[in-house]
Assembly symmetry: C2
Homo-oligomer: 470 residues x 2
């Protein structure tokens, strides 16, 4: 219903106020040509004025040409009544650069969205909205739905060796919120975080925003190098991605896992285990979580962004008992809780076996795509490259013997309509990963991968001396 | 020969059972560093499984670092694989007090959840999951779906006189996240917030968490008393709930609105307008949003918790242009964005006219319930009470002439199986609202309201001198 501001203390008559308002709205285009106005009776009720007042205002607008009536159909905004407003003070917004639709973008961390199991999800979603208890539509507890936490605790035990009770889980709006929550939970200015280097820049930002300092530790082919753990300081926690280090892709061996646990036991601090990409392991069994080895000193983070869809925004954090109460409180003051019905749909999706089937199917597909990618890269560059972190996940890293990648080379790639990403962009101590590219393949069809690698070849061909070949 | 318990009826694969058993035995020290494992052929015979099963299990254990092979010599337990187990300690969790199911709870701010339009929502939800573009299942922009922001900007213009473009809107996970975002956007330690007193305690907490100080201003029957705005300090913003002040329920008149705008223009600060409960106005005209009067100095907050369902966790904040970029960034580092499909369903719900119909229906219902509540209260207490803030919303406030409400009186109410709430709990400067109760009625049937007021009467009957009657 059309809303009109009225000032009863004004010496302007109600009719004139209504007339003027509607006129202004038409002139500025807020009421658009062809739009239907409410009936005089309806508008009069809505605004609490007499119907005659509205009739008078409409009549005036009709007489001046702003409105037209069509017998039986109602009253409409007439054509030719829009007057462009003068320029308001405009502030430039960060615009998204226009997408080059022909570009092949090897961005990492994107699942194949076309295969999201939409039919199943739509069905479960409809069922859940229809049969949920009315109370479910109300405010919930900050930790989220018990139904989901129960299903999750048994699912994670089976698939990841995670050992927790449902009350240790807080459902979050994706892994990002879990990270933000942990930062608030444990970090103050002057605190320290021991962290893998390189590591996703967004994660660095989230921790640094609290005023804490990062203590970067070099990641080698086995993951974080535990020999370099600092003895002289006490970090609040050590942040690791042990299943599939991002970006380098290493899987942390048991010796280093145990060293880390012994380290945080001795320092009386925590390990934050971001179980990134663990589900898509192409060879052998998925590696069990660190959390299963040490429940009291490991905070475990997971999300459904890679295995289902980032748009769901559902993740979780598993907390040791002594952090639960504070964690719940922080979630409450962030956004009370994560949407309830979405959680129930996900619980049904896991319980009904849909998730495991989906992961199985996607794993096969991603493995095929990875194989194509490696084959194609080998075809052109076999003498020049080494693969890193290719056993798991949606991306791998390629190391070149004699190319130092720079923004200039990336630009040349873009001129050839192909996009790849620098490991170096995620490094804290700069200069160690300049010959490495992150290549995400999960979301790309085989033919696209083949074409993309060909474009890479073309871009790198010829004289690169001007842009960085050593 | 190593004995491994195998369960052939289990749905865990034999390989995984063997892997897991050996792994656990190594970790706990039952299999010790340097110990030699049986040959794959020998163990396969011994356990009656295929040799490949053993090979796969060994390979996995080698990959994870538990075992090492020495050519010709065999397979051994690797070093650094023993982890000392700690005794688990059980910590008591804050348990929810057991719900008294017979109690009539006049809690405020809860819509009638049984009337959530679940059939319509379920249908739109299924449709949206089925026909959304695949890209919608991927990562989105922090500000949320354009579809919803467009619908919202025209809906809010029509219904609330809010004047904004879609790019000024950030979709948030409820009003709480909008408040948290504003706190992060504008507040640092030593900053000041001018705020209504009394005001929801959660909002006080969110602002104070940043280290900023609250400058409380008394709320009278017209809302925040603008004559008391501080001249000597510059607040970052003035926080108000002008449509239906929480908890007192006043509606801010235009004169005070204009004074506030002049104040923040002069101070070069902002108004944060929480348009709480504005939709359910039972008497008189809808009051214009402040935002519509001054776009560049008013930050506007709204949510769908009261008009639809708190479980959706969808709200929004409308920012002046110069705050948009920073606001988007803060949303990104909180949880990237709000779930995408939920936003699309809501956009269709508004666009299809479902929301307006739902509000109309609920408004009639809530008005009826309010009338019953006031009638019943008048029946027992007419000489002793005054109503405040009853023209709008899901609750009202009752002021008693001669009762000072205390925890003791509330306890007596609970003994009579009825719960009401103290205005005083939300006051910053204490002692001014001790004779006032907040009574929420939106979620209660008429018969329940009638019974609840009777219980209140019983509880307050007789000698109250011991618990606070003055």
């Amino acid at each position: 219903m059309l809303w009109i501001p009225i000032d009863r203390d004004s010496n302007v008559s109600l009719m004139k106020q209504i007339y003027q308002y509607v006129r202004d709205q038409i002139l500025c285009g807020a009421l658009q040509v062809g739009e239907k106005l409410p009936s005089t009776r309806g508008l009069a009720n809505h605004l609490g004025v007499s119907r005659n007042t509205i009739l008078d205002a409409y009549e005036q607008l009709i007489a001046e040409g702003f409105l037209i009536t069509s017998k039986g159909a109602g009253t409409f905004i007439a054509e030719g009544t829009f007057l462009e407003r003068r320029q308001k003070q405009e502030i430039n917004l960060t615009k998204q650069s226009k997408q080059d639709t022909d570009v092949i973008d090897f961005r990492s961390g994107i699942p194949d969205l076309t295969l999201f199991p939409r039919k199943d999800w739509a069905k479960l979603s409809q069922e859940t909205w229809n049969d949920a208890e009315a109370l479910t539509f109300g405010y919930d507890q900050p930790e989220g739905r018990l139904e989901l936490r129960e299903v999750l605790s048994s699912y994670l035990f089976k698939t990841r060796g995670v050992s927790c009770r449902p009350e240790q889980i807080i459902i979050t709006s994706g892994a990002t919120q879990a990270l933000t929550l942990i930062a608030k939970l444990l970090l103050s200015p002057d605190d320290h975080v021991v962290i893998e280097d390189p590591i996703t820049t967004d994660i660095q930002t989230i921790f640094q925003t609290t005023g804490a300092s990062l203590y970067p530790i070099h990641v080698d082919e086995k993951g974080i190098n535990t020999a370099l753990l600092p003895k002289h300081l006490r970090p609040e926690f050590v942040f690791i991605t042990p299943s599939h280090q991002f970006p380098l892709g290493s899987t942390l061996p048991i010796q280093r896992r145990i060293e880390l646990i012994e380290y945080v036991r001795q320092k009386n601090s925590y390990i934050v285990e971001d179980d990134y990409d663990s589900e898509f392991r192409f060879e052998g069994l998925p590696i069990s979580s660190l959390q299963g080895l040490e429940e009291e000193r490991v905070i475990y983070i997971g999300s459904f962004s890679k295995i289902l869809s980032p748009a769901l925004r559902i993740g979780y954090v598993i907390l040791p008992y002594d952090l639960i109460d504070h964690g719940r409180e922080l979630k409450w003051f962030s956004d009370l809780h994560t949407p309830s019905i979405d959680q129930l749909v996900l619980a049904r999706f896991i319980e009904g076996g849909y998730l495991e089937r989906h992961i199985l199917k996607m794993k096969k597909l991603y493995k095929r795509r990875r194989d194509v990618l490696m084959e194609e890269l080998n075809k052109y560059f076999s003498e020049e490259i080494t693969f890193l972190g290719y056993t798991t996940g949606l991306h791998l890293v390629v190391e070149w013997k004699d190319i130092t990648f720079s923004e200039q080379i990336l630009k040349r790639l873009e001129e050839h309509h192909v996009k790849m990403y620098l490991v170096e962009d995620h490094s804290i101590i700069k200069g160690k990963h300049c010959n490495r590219l992150i290549i995400g393949y999960g979301h790309l069809h085989s033919e696209t991968i083949i074409e993309g690698v060909k474009r890479l070849k073309d871009a790198l061909d010829g004289n690169l001396s001007d842009v960085g070949r050593i």
